[in-house]
Symmetry: C2
Subunit: 227 residues, 2 copies
Amino acid sequence: MSKALVVLSGGQDSTTCLYWAIKQFGRENVSSLSFDYGQRHKIELEAAKKISEIAAVAHEILPIDTFSALGGNALTDDIDVQDDDDVDSVLPNTFVPGRNLIFLTFAAAYAYQRSIKHLITGVAQTDYSGYPDCRENTLSSLEQTLRLGMEYDVTIHTPLMNLNKSDTVALSEKLGAMDAMAYTHTCYNGEQPPCGHCQACLLRAKGFAEAGRVDPLIERFQFFTQK
Amino acid sequence: MSKALVVLSGGQDSTTCLYWAIKQFGRENVSSLSFDYGQRHKIELEAAKKISEIAAVAHEILPIDTFSALGGNALTDDIDVQDDDDVDSVLPNTFVPGRNLIFLTFAAAYAYQRSIKHLITGVAQTDYSGYPDCRENTLSSLEQTLRLGMEYDVTIHTPLMNLNKSDTVALSEKLGAMDAMAYTHTCYNGEQPPCGHCQACLLRAKGFAEAGRVDPLIERFQFFTQK
């Protein structure tokens, strides 16, 4: 069986992808990779570690110090994250241009050295804030670039590409990912329990509401639900 | 005039590209970028700095610590560099799969934040050891990926793509790059004066010989030429 590598942010989507990969390639063939790119919220990396433990797959964190040198953005610097009333603006200030390209290119180089031919990423072109590096045409082009540039038959799988958040919740339930889902991190403000009012929290809540499912993360913080 | 960024390794090719960019875009619009990826030979970075000073352009070094975590290769680890009798082997062990993809993707993200739309890289598909990420089709595909992934009209220029080393020497002379050429670093073994027997030294010497020009780097080390 082929080996597969899941790019795991510690969020809802990549966690769903992890379980998708386990179903597709077999648990023993799956490992996960996270990037420490100086994000303000280290809680994401802790979530990724915990989720990998629950899913019983090997997990590694790669440091990318370079991000801080690239320039200002709200995920690594002290810039205020936009709130929900900015949702319709062109691109959120959490946008690091080319971030997924960098992650996936590193993941591919990492995979090459380990004879892993399948990369799985939780990007989706639905329900999102216009990140161009999450779109299907970008990912297809990147796959082609990686194949040419490494002469390596790597495939990028994007199981959530055309799912909305509600579909993703349904899929994660079907895949048995709910135990892990209770430990995912989504909040742009890095709060635990989640702030509930940033774009990411709102989008997540909407998905669970539409799927008619209580978010296991919210359940885990009992006191939060009793507010 | 548009701004341009030269990916500067400190070697002969990227130095030639720096002077090409100065001619093309004007000195005031050109800056250079080097990557500190844990290479065994820091001398490369010193060369890049010195060359940028001679060329009178701004220079910055971005750290990419991630490389060492990717896996074994002779440029960052303690693995012996292959000698010239291995020249015809498939890929040299100095090959870091996807290295140029990573460099150029970072350069593009860096350029995006600074409204720079032109990237210049010294890759060539001639005279080389089969690096797939130096080929024209890879670079075209990467340019397309970056444009899609960042929604940014970036152009990758590869002025040396179809030149052999002798052509490159002739071009660098025409562009007035010879003063800087005396400070370039090529030797895979990190020696100064250059070892003279690694693949990179041999290829460089061949280029200067064919162009009928004494290498200014060799001239600079007088005692070396008197051996």
